[in-house]
């Protein structure tokens, strides 16, 4: 059977990579004595698949992974047992059975983020500036990937961008992005906005939280 688990990852665990996260969950499942299916081959590993990787330093409150289980297990029980063996900072918040053919990678369409940024200089009307930023016909940026960097148009990916709170120099932004092969993360949006505003954010101090992955 195949389970889909929704999880959150915050606190110090934001400093671990996607690969570290996968290993941590695999080991937690073993500690919980959950019988997961193993891949064939030289180095068997559990049949787990994750949604889009989260960048180092970001937290999440709505990511997912799928895992193939040997035999049967109640989703509630999976959640309860696994939560007992996960380290502080990782928690399963929801779990349900999905069809074996249901692929997480086909399901993830959009992602919502909040991003905390710190202003280094005052911006007169940030919400208004954001509207002007989004009002442009195209927003070209250079996106880096393993195979080199590439120019893409951010406009194709931004579904929503607004300021939701300002407290002193700390500003919280809401960003909603389209997820597809090679789509950019929210940091690119913040960077492009910062360029547009003439460098007002402290780019060394940004906190990204993926509030939710939206599945269709």
């Amino acid at each position: 059977m195949k389970l889909r688990a929704k999880f959150k990852k915050d606190g110090d665990l934001r400093y671990i990579s996607h690969l570290d996260l996968m290993r941590t969950i695999e080991r937690a499942m073993r500690r919980a004595q959950i019988k997961f299916s193993l891949s064939k081959g030289f180095n068997p590993h559990p049949l787990i698949s994750f949604g889009p990787a989260l960048s180092m330093g970001a937290t999440t409150h709505g990511d997912y992974f799928d895992v193939v289980i040997e035999g049967e297990i109640e989703p509630e029980r999976f959640k309860r047992d696994l939560n007992k063996t996960l380290p502080n900072g990782l928690e399963i918040v929801d779990c349900y059975i999905v069809d074996d053919k249901d692929l997480l990678s086909n399901k993830v369409k959009e992602a919502e983020y909040t991003v905390d940024v710190y202003l280094m200089s005052h911006v007169i009307d940030l919400p208004d500036e954001i509207k002007r930023f989004l009002g442009r016909d195209e927003i070209f940026i250079e996106k880096e990937s393993k195979s080199g960097s590439k120019i893409i148009d951010l406009k194709n990916y931004i579904l929503d961008l607004k300021m939701i709170e300002a407290k002193g120099s700390k500003v919280t932004l809401y960003v909603k992005l389209k997820i597809s092969e090679g789509s950019p993360g929210p940091i690119y949006v913040v960077k492009a906005l910062d360029d547009f505003l003439g460098h007002v954010f402290d780019m060394e101090k940004i906190l990204v939280d993926r509030r939710n992955l939206i599945l269709n």
């Binding site: 606190g11 110090d12 665990l13 400093y15 671990i16 990579s17 690969l19 570290d20 290993r23 941590t24 695999e26 080991r27 937690a28 499942m29 073993r30 500690r31 004595q33 019988k35 193993l38 030289f42 180095n43 068997p44 590993h45 559990p46 180092m56 330093g57 063996t85 380290p87 502080n88 900072g89 060394e204 101090k205």
Partner: protein
């Protein structure tokens, strides 16, 4: 604490591998610091990934934390990126568990695994705002050190308050009890150290003086007052089966060097290789029973969830019930995908059937260590393996589908000639021929040859021998680079100047200790890391204190010379080492002491010491 935690948090996005500095791993221990009587910082003088792979840390961390009155936390050397930010923002070195500055601990215990990590000890003290010399440390934490390199405590004598010689788990509770009672009664450090010096296995360097002859050799190492032991007897665990082994191990978030469960099957080694310090200073062989090991394995697998369990010792295939242990473990855990690893494989004891079984769960590499290229030289070092062993075992392995093999050798062994160096390449080519015999071609084959440089170590039969000079080592390396051309071979070698420094420090006296301090003052740290190693600064440091490093590495020693480490009695007698040294030159072998007693003298170390019984 929270203030420091916030300051640390501000740095973490700017450094490599921030999870090195966060703690919070499964099985790490969180205690209420107000409810313990003593706070102990286990300090490993290298990065997190190296330190977390170390078995001694796992044992002592769990053992100390089993005591309600003690809280043991961990600290590692911050990598240079983190260190420079910490210095820039005036952040002291802190423990992983509670983010407490190190100078607030009662005891800081360093483990000495490698001579080239000594400058990191100084750097870690300095980052903790603790003076590096023990004489300047009134009112500061007690600095203790143990581990294999502590068998020659001389080079760190000005830095460390107290050395532990031998198995730490055997002695640590006595030290903790003493520190707790002294803390309660406000006993000053000097008196605490005097009392500690009476515990067997403790060396307090400030209570001894080292004097020299005109030729710079040691005249004597003597206690400065009555009632202090003249020789420090090593402490050993007598019955390993009844001795503490942790049933939980911390599971790091990031990949560490040995990212697996470590299960120690026995301690010591019976082989008697003449270059091997561990083989001498961990005698005698003490085994855990198979039942104990299986029980421990079960608890460890359940408490960690690891995908691999490594059966550790100096020569694991020598374990008396190795086959049935491995089969039982594989059978029991293959369903959950947890495999077994044998890290230290000798080519003679090496059982291909065993490795075949292991491979069914998880693919392991094939690593063999002939150590020397010719039979003559292998006889000199008492590595009792033959070319035939190598041919037989690689043939079986290739038949079973292995395609790559790693071969380890040493360069610069006593009596080595260019013929022996060529022998290294000959063996590698021989293995390639074996592969061709099995598969009809060399396609797909990968042979990795690694050479390290022989370092003469204290308490080995080669302790009187000089190290080969750097120029000669470089020639030999270049010769091998020529001989090992072609796609199927790859050749790795050690930096000869690092091995030179390792020899100087491992055979060093208190004067070498002054050079270590000087080198650190001029910016040396992480000396075991190629990209950080600053050989010129080290040589300048020796020059500025007027000490010739070549004296320590290259001098052929007389049998009656006093060594800086003669203050320590590891159990193996000097007469035995001399005998072995002479036999080496004659190329005469000494048998495995499981077959008959070779008379090393270890049984006389202490009452109740029992050797391996056949």
């Amino acid at each position: 604490m929270s203030d420091l935690k916030n300051k640390i948090d501000d740095l973490l996005m700017k450094v490599n591998k921030p999870a090195r500095y966060t703690g919070g791993e499964i099985n790490s221990v969180i205690k209420d610091v107000d409810k313990v009587k003593i706070r102990f910082a286990f300090a490993f003088p290298d990065v997190y990934e190296v330190g977390m792979s170390h078995l001694g840390l796992k044992i002592l961390y769990s053992l100390m934390n089993e005591r309600d009155d003690t809280y043991c936390e961990r600290v590692f050397a911050p990598w240079v990126d983190m260190e420079s930010l910490m210095r820039e923002r005036d952040i002291p070195l802190f423990s992983l568990e509670t983010k407490t500055p190190l100078n607030m601990f009662d005891v800081i215990g360093f483990t000495l695994q490698y001579e080239l990590s000594y400058t990191n000890i100084l750097n870690m003290l300095d980052l903790s705002k603790i003076p590096i010399r023990s004489k300047d440390r009134k009112g500061y934490p007690l600095i203790i050190a143990g581990g294999p390199c502590a068998v020659n405590p001389a080079p760190l004598s000005d830095v460390v308050d107290l050395f532990v010689i031998g198995d730490g788990e055997e002695i640590i509770n006595e030290i903790l009890d003493l520190v707790i009672s002294c803390k309660k009664d406000n006993v000053p450090k000097e008196e605490l150290l005097r009392r500690a010096s009476k515990i067997q296995g403790v060396y307090v360097p400030s209570l001894y003086v080292e004097t020299y002859n005109d030729d710079n050799t040691i005249k004597s190492i003597k206690p400065i007052e009555d009632g202090i032991p003249a020789v420090i007897k090593r402490r050993i665990v007598k019955d390993l089966d009844k001795t503490y082994h942790p049933d939980k191990q911390i599971v790091p978030f990031i990949n560490i060097v040995h990212d697996r469960i470590v299960l120690e099957v026995f301690r010591g080694c019976t082989r008697g290789c003449r270059f091997c310090q561990a083989g001498m200073i961990y005698r005698p062989v003490r085994e855990r029973s198979k039942e104990t090991l299986i029980e421990l394995a079960d608890k460890l697998i359940k408490s960690t969830g690891y995908e691999e369990i490594s059966l550790t010792s100096l020569s694991t295939c020598d374990y008396s019930q190795i086959e049935s242990l491995v089969y039982d473990l594989i059978e029991k855990y293959k369903e959950i995908g947890t495999g077994v690893a044998l890290p230290s494989t000798r080519i003679d004891a090496f059982s291909v059937n065993l490795l075949n079984e292991i491979q069914k769960v998880r693919k392991t590499g094939l690593t063999l260590a002939p150590e020397a290229g010719t039979q003559r030289l292998r006889d000199v070092i008492n590595k009792g393996v033959t070319e035939e062993d190598l041919v037989n075992s690689t043939k079986e392995a290739f038949k079973a589908g292995w395609k790559s093999v790693k071969l380890y050798f040493m360069l610069g062994l006593p009596t080595e000639t260019m013929e022996d160096v060529k022998g290294i390449s000959d063996l590698a080519h021989l293995v390639a021929d074996v592969y061709k015999d099995v598969n009809g071609t060399t396609r797909g084959l990968k042979i990795t040859v690694s050479t390290s440089t022989f370092v003469p170590k204290p308490f080995t039969p080669f302790q009187w021998y000089p190290q080969d000079d750097m120029e000669s080592i470089i020639n030999k390396q270049n010769y091998l680079k020529e001989l090992l051309r072609g796609k199927i071979f790859s050749y790795n070698w050690h930096e000869p100047n690092m091995s030179f420094l390792e020899a100087v420090i491992s055979k060093g006296d208190r004067k070498v200790g002054q050079a270590i301090i000087k080198a650190w003052e001029s910016g040396c740290k992480f000396d075991g890391w190629d990209e950080q190693f600053k050989f010129d600064k080290w040589m300048a440091a020796f020059e500025s204190i007027g000490v010739d490093p070549k004296f320590y590495a290259y001098k052929k020693r007389d049998f009656d010379e006093v060594f800086p480490w003669d203050i320590v009695d590891v159990g193996v007698k000097k007469d035995y080492l001399k005998r072995e040294c002479k036999k080496a030159i004659e190329g005469r072998l000494t048998g495995d002491c499981r077959l008959y007693c070779t008379g090393c003298g270890i049984k006389d170390l202490d009452e109740g010491v029992v050797c391996f019984e056949t």
